[in-house]
Subunit: 221 residues, 2 copies
């Protein structure tokens, strides 16, 4: 496996390619051209070929890419051929939804514990796991070798949860709380902002409305 630096923008597209390849496999398609794969991933084919060249994958002229093998290459590059134990902290509606989310439990990720500060919830069964106390975090991280912590708490609790995760040895944090976390060097944080996507849609919606209005004006002129 290569440890050379792949550009961050390429890394961000690998999950998109993986999803497209999974769809092709579901449809029993075993090979595809870069154009076909690019279209189903929603990128242009030159960019796709460039991205895949970082993985040493160039396809075969006249045949294209072997779907199964390319999926394996990308999975291996991302690290999904390993097992990633994950802990989710904050089992409100969102934490509950994440615990049940099929994309989390499949594809190399395994939720090993659900933690919540509210002791009234402890012992409650969610997605086959009992909710446990937040004070068990450190023991769970050591027992399971947890590498990735998911924060689904309210914003006010997120930074202290993050600090405790890092103390316990977690080096990658996925943050769903609507707040910015500060972390020391060597710790990766990804923030999921559910409203960003809505804002991007609003931009396009406004643009469509503006164009329609402009057309209306022209027609009436």
């Amino acid at each position: 496996m290569s440890h050379s630096r792949i550009p961050e923008a390429t890394v961000a597209r690998l999950p998109v390619y993986l999803r497209a390849l999974n769809s092709l496999l579901d449809a029993k398609i075993s090979s595809c051209s870069s154009e076909e794969l690019a279209a189903s991933a929603g990128v242009n084919s030159a960019k796709l070929r460039k991205d895949l060249s970082y993985l040493g994958s160039y396809g075969t002229r006249g045949v294209g890419y072997d779907v199964e093998y390319l999926r394996y290459q990308i999975s291996r590059e991302i690290g999904l051929t390993q097992d990633w134990p994950v802990v989710i902290v904050g089992i409100g509606n969102l934490g509950h939804a994440l615990a049940n989310y099929s994309g989390f439990t499949s594809r190399g990720f395994r939720t090993v514990a659900l933690l919540d500060a509210d002791s009234n919830r402890h012992g409650e069964l969610v997605a086959g796991l009992k909710i446990r106390g937040f004070n068990e975090l450190s023991a769970i991280v050591h027992e399971h070798g947890v590498a990735i912590g998911v924060i689904a708490t309210p914003a006010a609790a997120a930074q202290s949860v993050c600090d405790r995760m890092i103390e316990a040895g977690i080096r990658s944090v996925l943050n769903f709380a609507p707040t910015v976390l500060s972390v020391p060097d060597g710790v990766d944080v990804r923030k999921v902002d559910l409203s960003s996507e809505l804002q991007i849609l609003a931009y396009h919606e406004q643009r469509k409305a503006g164009l329609a209005a402009a057309e209306g004006t022209e027609e009436s002129a």
Copy 2:
């Protein structure tokens, strides 16, 4: 308001700048340099200046950007100074979490209805709204001028929900269901894949582990 085409990658960064500006305002900071804003948004400052130039915003030499005014410019460009009525379909744990998500209810978006196919849930109160039947979709879209539909159903139901949304006149769809939707031209779909972020973390985690292992080998050599 400009209707010139802003590059898609810039549009995707506008919500990030907006979030950074909101944090600065919360910290009572009224002006900032492009370097400061770029750092808190996590992009390089040349890219930031280029992005903001599409909005006609160039800052003032030696002073930088007026935080409040830049926030207004970006909000207007995205369309957040308007009111966007949103409908959420599928009120399981995820739909429930979305209905309660503060980022959805603030910033120009207003959830006007929660719909679910399960008639046993109808009338249940979530985030101040009664869950209603999916068959009321068309009437609700017309009554409220709903522009954006959020799909939080299981994968199997998502395409038919999407089709019904489009029939009812919705032109922008935010899809949380783990499936690819096909839509006619003129309809925008954004897909939120909660596991993509986890995959990007796994890539970095693997890389860190690989580098640590390589260093260990060197030390023992």
